[in-house]
């Protein structure tokens, strides 16, 4: 274990000892105090990406991935033994890294304040092993000819350029040197070596304690000893609470590194997703096994957030506007809870009990989410928001439908943003189940769906618009499915 006030980490290839670390010190503030001021605070809530840094992480093959995260949301206790790379560590004036060079010469920086963050997000995509010319997605407005996925930049805001030169820079990038070439690019080399592993940590300070236990059993013991402890996974929600609302916890227990929470398994009855896996990992490892999730991932915040955020965290905070419940409700998912007495599985539809309240008992952790098989063949996800990507939904709707002939065999509608908890559209489901899937019946059910929940008026949307969107999304789903079937018939 790291000792009680200090921890070790590697920054830009150099080992560092971070002394006098407090449990709520963010990686961003620590880096800036070290003079690495290229890392900027623009919003302190993971929206702007000006603080992006690379983290070295394990891939699935024993090697190392370089992933971009928001340093403003990472607490220092989480980075013991880890490796961090900032924009300063990629290149210097005179010896620019390829992403730095492309951004500089194409007018990709104006005021320059967001630029180090863009550099880091672009570098993560530059080094992404799956990126290649062959992976290129044709007909996709968000991929370049070099396989560059523009969603890698969805968590970075620029107020000056309008993004075109940044896109040009991204699409002009070549590939990193092959691993066998002679050390021209240390980060490319780094990918072939073993990754840093989560390191058990205990920080003890007058401001509170931070634990990273090594095993699930230790975590449950700690939780039993500190029932009020803050359970921390990716920190993309708690970091915002710490920074914007100045929340402080006496005891923080980080669980995202626990091996028991990091499994992804499939049986013939279900697919189980570990609660501590970050969403990018799940997205990558699932591929197209669950089409609804594949459609949904790009709408969950940004790549910077998905590289840390977990399903466990999203369900643990139990926000009524969390992004995962609508799709997980549509998929009939179950939540696997583990406590001192062992495991139990709760249907997600029974999991939420009130505003940010759940059936999870003190002392319990979310270990996994189970998606039952077989999957409904027809699915849709609709996130209603002001901005197309990286926005909080005013309403979110997940739909899963199974038809037998033209008759609705089974329908699940998950709704977010229309009540104190995520809910199912039970009345509309009932109205259509056993009925013919046609325009008239869908219209009637859509009217019913529009009356579900008690949507609010707020700065995101009016209650009238929210209600209208419930109705409209079911109509849109019907129209899309019908068009798709017609196209298939044609």
């Amino acid at each position: 274990m790291s000792n009680l006030h200090t921890l070790e980490l590697t920054v830009n290839g150099q080992p560092r000892v971070a002394g006098n670390v407090r449990p709520h010190t963010t990686l961003l503030n620590w880096l800036r105090d070290q003079g690495l001021t290229g890392c900027k605070e623009g919003c302190a809530e993971g929206e702007c990406g000006a603080c992006a840094v690379l983290m070295a992480r394990a891939d699935e093959h024993g090697g190392t991935r370089l992933e971009s995260v928001n340093a403003c949301l990472v607490l220092m206790g989480s980075v013991a033994g880890q490796e961090v790379v900032t924009a300063e560590g990629l290149g210097h004036p005179g010896t620019l890294h390829p992403v730095q060079h492309e951004l500089a010469v194409r007018g990709g920086s104006q005021c320059g304040y967001c630029t180090p963050g863009f550099v880091v997000s672009m570098a993560a995509e530059y080094y992404r092993p799956e990126r290649s010319q062959t992976e290129q997605v044709t007909g996709d407005a968000h991929h370049g000819p070099n396989g560059f996925d523009l969603h890698a930049l969805s968590g970075n805001l620029c107020r000056c350029t309008g993004y075109r030169p940044i896109q040009d820079a991204a699409y002009a990038l070549g590939m990193p040197p092959e691993s066998d070439s002679a050390g021209t690019d240390p980060l490319a080399q780094r990918r072939t070596q073993t990754p840093p592993m989560p390191r058990p940590t205990h920080l003890s300070t007058p401001d509170g304690d931070f634990y990273r236990p090594g095993t699930l059993a230790e975590a449950l013991d700690l939780l039993a000893a500190h029932p009020d402890a803050k359970v921390l996974a990716g920190g993309t929600d708690w970091g915002v609470e710490v920074n914007l609302r100045h929340a402080r916890a006496g005891v923080t227990i980080a669980v995202d590194g626990l091996p028991e929470l990091r499994t992804l398994t499939a049986t013939d009855r279900f697919i189980e997703l570990g609660a501590g896996l970050n969403l990018s990992e799940i997205e990558r490892r699932l591929g197209n096994q669950i089409p609804l999730l594949r459609e949904w991932f790009p709408h969950f915040a940004s790549r910077l957030i998905r590289n840390n955020a977990t399903l466990g965290g999203n369900l643990g905070t139990a926000s009524p506007i969390g992004d995962s419940p609508p799709v997980l409700l549509a998929l009939d998912a179950g939540v696997v809870l583990v406590g001192p007495q062992g495991e139990r599985e709760v249907p997600l539809a029974d999991y939420f009990t009130g505003y940010r309240q759940t059936v999870r008992l003190p002392g319990e952790l979310i270990r996994a989410v189970r998606i039952p098989l077989p999957l409904a063949p027809l699915t849709g996800f609709y996130k209603i928001a002001k901005r197309r990507f990286d926005d909080i939904s005013s309403v979110a709707v997940g739909i899963a439908l199974e038809l037998e002939g033209d008759t609705v065999q089974r329908l699940r509608i998950g709704l977010g943003g229309v009540a104190a908890t995520p809910i199912r559209g039970l009345k509309a489901e009932a109205a259509l189940t056993g009925q013919v899937w046609n325009k008239e019946n869908v219209r009637l059910a859509a009217k019913i769906l529009g009356t579900e929940g008690t949507p609010l008026d707020d700065h995101r949307a009016s209650s009238a618009y929210r209600a209208a969107m419930l109705e409209q999304t079911l109509l849109k789903f019907y129209f899309e499915q019908t068009t798709q079937r017609q196209e298939e018939l044609a």
Binding site: E45, E88, S109, G112, T115, N156, G162, K386, R388, M469
Partner: protein
């Protein structure tokens, strides 16, 4: 030497990257708040923000604060040795106290500040303060202010002809109302200042400010010092957009006051929420209008009342309003005009300068009128706009001849062709006929924007150019760098004027002890004014050098050429000498190798009471075509394609100028479609609180809002012979190119309904706003169908 003519060879016009690009991309570019880590004993400041929109401070007990570990002191009104005011109108008290000032004017207003060894300690200190308030009634909307007759500042009227006569003669008269929202600057770098007493005993302030001179003046009056005792430096800003023209002064004054009282360096850096809740934004406006057209659709008369929401203090609301009135004509000749402007006083942040400075608001009103009225006149909106363009020889309602009016038609026709407008219009009609749930819209709109500060005195600038004995050049000017590329352009101007390569010129940060009495870097004027001053300084030195060279080369000084680091007799490039050698020789002949440059824009005059004169040196022109696709189920949309053509004169720096045009367009599209400021207007306990006070609730355009096809071009052969090297200003005008996005959304929403109806659209045109607009269109179609049955 001619101001606008370019030598055959020179760095102006080259597409060079930003002068700090390598520093930006490596994280080595320093901003104000990056400097604090270099200082010992730094104190951090945190404000106590009032939790009421309007209230009287009854009690301010700061005694518990000092028991919070790490807290050093509190700053209240009693601590101010000079004038306790953060503005230039003396209506912005900087610090509160029980003995006054004590009237809280907006939710989140800073009452006092705590200084501590860490930000955390300062925050905890502020939490420990015991403040009591008497809540007073608050006005939050323009409608509430109008109902209560709550106005501030002057109420000018722009007038030409006789509107009553005009309406009498008009074939068609329409009336309407339009209210639209403001915009948060959301510079990525929040307001920041760092102050300390330097080794010579003067107050030295690093500030993220567009207006170092005014920051200096306000710090001086707060501290009771002269301007000569205060120096302000601005290295660079992480974005400004007008938001750092007036707003930084008070924060700099807090840092300077704290540094004076404690003897320690003090850092003020707002977090995003503080910046959003404490600083001013673009003015929202309400317009009530009546418009008359002749038979052919020519505008004949316009009568309007524009009411801006100025917030709690005047700030720049008067000049913003003046520019709005001066741009309600946009590109169109209005024979009879009467437009009254007034500024509402509300209990919100004090709205301020924002890229366009009222111009966008004035132009949006006339473009909304034309977009709404075109179907009523039976005309395509594009035709209606074009037939109303100014013709050469015509003058604006404020009496200024429209210089280069013919460029409007040139830009318009060129863009119609380049964007393939007519063919795409036909394609869209076919698309819309075939798609019941998805509609596309296409629109073209023009921009005409007046360049110069309306307030004539601001149109002056200074520069300082040094040539050292080794031939290296150091330049300094009064403008600030906020990402717009001003410093890059200034280096290009100096290199061109002196005939040296770019690498020979270094630019030093903007400081008030180098160039005094500067104007704000604002009104798009930075390159025009400071470029004129730098060129003037370089020309002075070059004249002296030419005299020296003439002697050694044996030619008349007029026939000495300076080019790319060489100096040679006209026609004999092979017979010259190096610039550095000439400088060396000149020094030994006792030649002054530095100069102060100065520029004042000639020919300007303005009567702000009569609203008449020639306030602008020239106009910038542009046009844009936008195509959108709207989802009828949700109102969500995509910007499929944008084509922009803009007049920057002969560009000083094309990579920079293209960046300004594109960035302005996307920022304008943000204002008109996405960015929505929402205040709590209920009568609840948080009345007046800004509901959108973070990046998660106030959404900026991200990469997905960029047009999927984005064609941007600069007008060619566009020399402006009144400006340095034939260029034109570029900072603000392109923002208004984004009006075509809104008009395209209007077209798409209208396509869900029957033709010939005026399509209303709220602003910002969020997906929700577009949904309600197209719902209305759909309802009317249903009614038409029902009536036909």
């Amino acid at each position: 030497m001619s101001l606008f003519e370019r030598p055959p060879l020179g760095a102006v016009g080259d597409p060079v990257p930003h002068e700090s690009a390598d520093l930006h991309v490596t994280g080595h570019a320093l901003y104000t708040d990056d400097l604090g880590v270099r200082l010992h004993n730094l104190l951090h400041a945190w404000p106590l923000q009032a939790p009421h929109a309007h209230a009287r401070l009854l009690k301010l007990d700061t005694s518990p604060v000092l028991s919070v570990p790490g807290v050093v002191r509190v700053l209240t009104a009693a601590d101010v040795p000079g004038v306790n005011d953060a503005g230039v109108k003396h209506d912005e008290p900087l610090l509160f106290g029980e003995n006054g000032p004590n009237e809280v004017m907006f939710y989140g207003q800073a009452v006092c500040w705590v200084l501590a060894d860490s930000t955390e300690a300062a925050r905890l200190g502020a939490e420990a303060i015991r403040a009591e308030y008497e809540v007073l009634p608050a006005l939050l909307t323009i409608a509430e202010a109008i109902a209560e007759d709550s106005f501030q500042g002057s109420q000018p009227t722009l007038r030409r002809g006789d509107v009553a006569l005009g309406f009498g003669e008009a074939a068609h008269v329409f009336e309407g109302e339009f209210e639209f929202g403001g915009q948060e600057h959301f510079y990525l770098e929040t307001n920041a200042a760092l102050a300390y007493t330097d080794e010579s005993g003067q107050m030295f302030i690093q500030s993220s400010t567009q207006h170092p001179t005014e920051t200096q003046e306000i710090v001086a009056h707060v501290l009771g010092l002269t301007s000569s005792q205060v120096t302000v430096q601005c290295l660079r800003m992480g974005g400004g957009f007008g938001g750092k023209e007036m707003q930084p002064h008070g924060f700099a004054a807090i840092a300077a006051l704290g540094a004076t009282l404690t003897g320690r360096p003090v850092r003020v850096r707002l977090n995003r929420t503080q910046d959003l809740t404490m600083t001013g934004k673009r003015h929202p406006f309400h317009a009530r209008w009546k418009v008359g057209f002749d038979e052919s659709g020519r505008l004949h008369a316009l009568q309007a009342t524009l009411s801006s929401d100025g917030g709690w203090s005047l700030d720049l609301s008067e000049p913003v309003l003046a520019r709005a009135l001066c741009h309600i004509d946009n590109a169109y000749y209005l024979p009879h005009v009467e437009v009254l402007g007034r500024i509402c006083k509300t209990n919100k942040t004090s709205q301020t300068a924002f890229r366009g400075f009222g111009g966008p608001q004035g132009m949006l009103v006339i473009e909304d009128i034309l977009g709404r009225c075109a179907p009523l006149l039976g005309l395509e909106a594009a035709d209606l706009r074009q037939r109303n363009f100014y013709a050469p020889g015509e003058a604006t309602p404020y009496g200024q001849p429209v210089r280069h009016a013919e460029r409007l038609q040139l830009v318009w026709q060129t863009l119609l062709q380049q964007s393939d407008f007519a063919a795409r219009q036909a394609e869209i009609q076919a698309f819309n006929a075939a798609h019941p749930h998805t509609k596309r819209g296409l629109a073209i709109t023009p921009v005409k924007f007046g360049i110069s500060f309306n307030f004539t005195a601001y149109n002056q600038a200074g520069a300082l150019v040094h040539i050292y004995k080794d031939g290296s050049v150091l330049i300094n000017h009064g403008g600030t760098e906020m990402g717009q590329g001003l410093h890059t352009k200034m280096i290009q101007v100096a290199a061109t004027a002196l005939g040296v390569p770019l690498r020979c010129v270094r630019l030093a940060p903007t400081r008030t002890d180098k160039v005094p009495n500067t104007s704000a870097t604002a009104a798009s004027s930075g390159a025009d004014l400071n470029g004129g001053a730098i060129k003037n300084a370089c020309d002075q030195i070059k004249e002296r050098l030419a005299a020296v060279a003439a002697g050694s080369l044996g030619v008349h000084p007029d026939d000495v050429r300076f080019e790319n680091g060489r100096v040679y007799p006209l026609g004999h490039p092979d017979q010259g000498l190096d610039f550095a050698q000439l400088v060396h020789d000149a020094y030994h002949l006792r030649t002054q190798l530095w100069a102060a440059g100065y520029y004042r824009t000639p020919g300007l005059h303005w009567d702000r009471v009569a609203m008449q004169g020639e306030p602008f040196k020239y106009f910038s022109y542009g046009a844009s075509v936008s195509e959108v696709e709207v989802d009828g189920f949700t109102g969500a949309y995509r910007l499929l394609r944008a084509d922009l053509l803009h007049d920057v004169g002969d560009s000083l720096s094309p990579l920079i100028d293209i960046g300004q045009v594109e960035g302005g367009f996307v920022q304008g599209a943000g204002w008109l479609t996405l960015e929505e400021l929402r205040w709590d207007t209920t009568q609840g306990p948080h009345r007046g609180r800004l509901a959108t006070q973070s990046a998660s609730t106030y959404k900026l355009p991200s990469f997905s809002e960029m047009p999927e096809i984005f064609n941007v071009a600069l007008l060619e052969q566009a020399t402006e012979d009144g400006v340095v090297y034939g260029s034109k200003a570029v900072g603000e005008p392109p923002l208004m190119l984004a009006i075509s996005v809104r008009e395209a959304l209007r077209q798409a929403a209208a396509a869900f309904g029957p033709s010939g109806r005026p399509q209303l659209l709220a602003s910002p045109a969020t997906p929700e706003a577009v949904f309600w607009a197209l719902e209305e269109a759909r309802q009317e179609r249903a009614e038409v169908v029902a009536a036909d049955d």
